[in-house]
């Protein structure tokens, strides 16, 4: 298996707003190894959200190549991108993005609906994932009956059920207090260490970014700086 999970080569993303071209990403080249834990930091307008969308296969770069799991993403159809998001990527958002008036278990089962996992198996896998994030006994609660931290844990369980190669977390602690944030980050850390799941985390809080092995700073559409935790010291190349 190729140790490099993500290969970005000169990624450019330009938006046309009216007659003005806004270059959100101006040529990003970066590799992420399997099992790594990367935090992306940067001020608003730096292009980190755009980078996140491209990494999460929600958007395509204007130019440049992106390989995920040895697959070229840039030229894929909407349908193939949807399949890729479904099977290879798990998403965790700042605002949780769970379905309202729907139970925790059903929310976790959702990705498996689009992966054609049988009803019985989805239920088993959903219950297992909820147990893993410490929500045993909360399966039938509707999402609006859960606290913010619990909701985010449901979202993490949902991101895990299809055994993705990559979890994209966009400000996952942005709506949580420090205690809940710590709980959520511990789960991420466990996933990364025990299950060897690659995690890419977008945050603007330095103490959250500190959980990651390496932190990349995006500024004006380019990677400005990379901090590597000394005790890991391997991987990413520019």
């Amino acid at each position: 298996m190729n140790p490099v999970l993500i290969r970005l080569d000169n990624i450019v993303r330009t938006y046309h707003i009216g007659e003005v071209d806004v270059r959100a990403l101006r040529g990003i080249t970066y590799n992420v190894l399997r099992g790594d834990f990367v935090a992306i930091m940067g001020p608003s307008g730096s292009g980190k959200s755009t980078l996140m969308n491209i990494l999460g296969c929600l958007d395509r770069p204007t130019s440049g190549t992106y390989f995920l799991d040895d697959q070229a993403v840039s030229g894929l159809s909407d349908k193939s991108l949807a399949t890729l998001r479904n099977t290879r990527i798990g998403f965790v958002f700042q605002s949780f993005n769970l379905l309202k008036r729907t139970s925790a278990r059903e929310n976790v089962e959702l990705p498996m609906l689009y992966a054609d996992v049988s009803g019985k198996q989805s239920r088993e896998r959903a219950l297992k994932a909820l147990k893993l994030v410490g929500l045993e006994g909360r399966e039938t609660h509707n999402t609006n009956q859960l606290s913010g931290g619990e909701q985010q844990r449901v979202a993490i369980a949902r991101s895990l059920v299809n055994n993705p190669s990559l979890i994209m977390a966009d400000e996952p602690t942005g709506n949580l207090d420090s205690k809940m944030s710590e709980d959520v980050m511990k789960i991420f850390l466990d996933m990364n260490r025990e299950k060897k799941i690659t995690i890419i985390l977008v945050t603007h809080e330095p103490d959250i970014a500190a959980y990651a092995n390496r932190v990349i700073h995006v500024k004006d559409g380019l990677i400005n700086r990379e901090d590597v935790k000394l005790d890991i010291g391997q991987g990413g190349t520019r």
């Binding site: 949807a82 399949t83 998001r85 479904n86």
Partner: protein, 416 residues
């Protein structure tokens, strides 16, 4: 797309509808009323058609009528001149047309008829002894009557058979058999009473308002005798299948008798009762189409209601659409989910509408205003209305569903 996935998406759609019960019910109501109206209106049209057909069948569908003068087309008479219809033609038709079973001359005269102190103006028809068979007339069995016989026709006997309406007017509550009525001072003995046929489809009102008598007696005693022109000749074919060949044979004979050159147009008319029945039924078809079209408009409005509510539903659930797309739903999954909602609305509404339409058409004649209307709910109209409602669901549901399916997941996720 896999069947299991489709079934599970269908369940999602169904659940979304049960969540907004009031909204779902009101949207469905549009379709229920639309489908119900189509079925009820078409059933009125079909009832009218059947009524007309039944009346013409009572006259006998293997009947032909020969009259002098060419056929009227658009109010203008074509062809050259009019040749009087002679009595001897009846015998010629009987002798030379193998497809003809019976033929009777018809002399008509409208006269005042008197019995004791009552009098009544009615149509007196001079016919032969086979006219009851030709006209599909039966005797009213509550009276011990009979139809006149050949001997009476040959001898010019002054006997008569009364139509049901003349009995009610001249003999209210008494037995007319054996009584003597007077027409222009000529006494006619009543020997039978015909069973009522009811209103005719065309002008002239009731077909029971008339008296039948031997043509010989009518010609000699009422019309002054001589070689008077017949009003018409009534013919019945051997059976319904040979009606067309009888028509051809009679036409051929008449052309020959009137010495028409080949290519010259007919100066007489042979009409087929089945054709007349058909054209009358056609006019009721127009009524059916008209009523159905008006009702369809309400179905269309119901469809617009579905589209409206689906657009609201899509814009309310932009975030949900974004979530589903982010975690791997394909465009088609989203499309199907929303399309199903519209189709469930229209199909369930359609089924309830069928019940409403059926109920309405059954209960309609309990309303005094519509008491005389007969209604027939045909399978065709039910299938048509149901199919149309399903089509309306797909047609009006497609645009909102496609709008949902073509959202950009990033925009949809960001939507507040």
């Amino acid at each position: 797309m896999k069947l299991k996935r489709t079934i599970r998406i269908f369940k999602l759609s169904f659940r979304a509808l049960t969540r907004n019960k009031m909204r779902t019910a009101l949207t469905m109501l549009g379709i229920i009323i639309g489908v119900g109206a189509v079925i009820a209106m078409v059933s009125i049209g079909a009832g009218a058609r059947q009524g007309v057909e039944a009346k013409f069948n009572a006259m006998g569908t293997n009947n032909l009528t020969v009259s002098s003068g060419s056929r009227m087309t658009g109010g203008a008479q074509s062809g050259t001149g009019t040749i009087p219809l002679k009595l001897e033609v009846v015998q010629l038709i009987l002798d030379r047309c193998p497809s003809v079973a019976f033929a009777s001359p018809v002399y008509q005269t409208r006269n005042q008829v008197i019995f004791e102190n009552k009098n009544w103006n009615t149509l007196i028809q001079g016919v032969n002894e086979d006219f009851d068979i030709i006209g599909n007339w039966t005797l009213d069995s509550t009276y011990a009557g009979r139809f006149f016989e050949q001997a009476e026709v040959d001898s010019g006997a002054t006997v008569c058979v009364l139509g049901a309406d003349t009995v009610t007017n001249l003999f209210p509550g008494s037995d007319p058999i054996g009584q003597i009525i007077r027409v222009r001072d000529v006494p006619f003995t009543v020997i039978g009473v015909l069973k009522a046929k009811g209103q005719s489809g065309g002008p002239g009102g009731s077909r029971d308002d008339m008296i039948l008598a031997p043509y010989t007696a009518v010609l000699e005693r009422l019309l002054g005798g001589g070689t008077l022109t017949l009003n018409s000749i009534q013919i019945s074919a051997v059976d319904e299948e040979s009606t067309d060949s009888a028509m051809n044979e009679v036409t051929e004979l008449m052309r020959e008798y009137n010495k028409l050159e080949p290519g010259a147009s007919d100066n007489f008319t042979v009409r087929n009762m089945a054709d007349i029945a058909e054209s009358a039924a056609d006019s009721t078809n127009i009524l059916t189409v008209l009523l159905g079209s008006i009702a369809s408009i309400s179905l269309l409005v119901g469809g617009i209601g579905i589209m409206n509510i689906m657009l609201v539903s899509v814009s309310e659930r932009i975030r949900e659409i974004g979530i589903r797309m982010a975690i791997g739903a394909q465009k088609i999954d989203i499309l199907v989910q929303f399309l199903f909602e519209a189709v469930v609305l229209s199909v369930v509404g359609g089924i309830l509408g069928i019940l409403l339409g059926f109920g309405t058409s059954k209960l309609l004649h309990y309303i005094p205003m519509f008491a005389t209307i007969t209604t027939i709910v045909s399978t065709g109209s039910v299938l048509l209305a149901f199919g149309f409602s399903a089509f309306v669901g797909i047609f009006f549901g497609y645009y909102p569903a496609s709008k949902a399916a073509h959202m950009d997941p990033i925009e949809a996720l960001r939507y507040e």
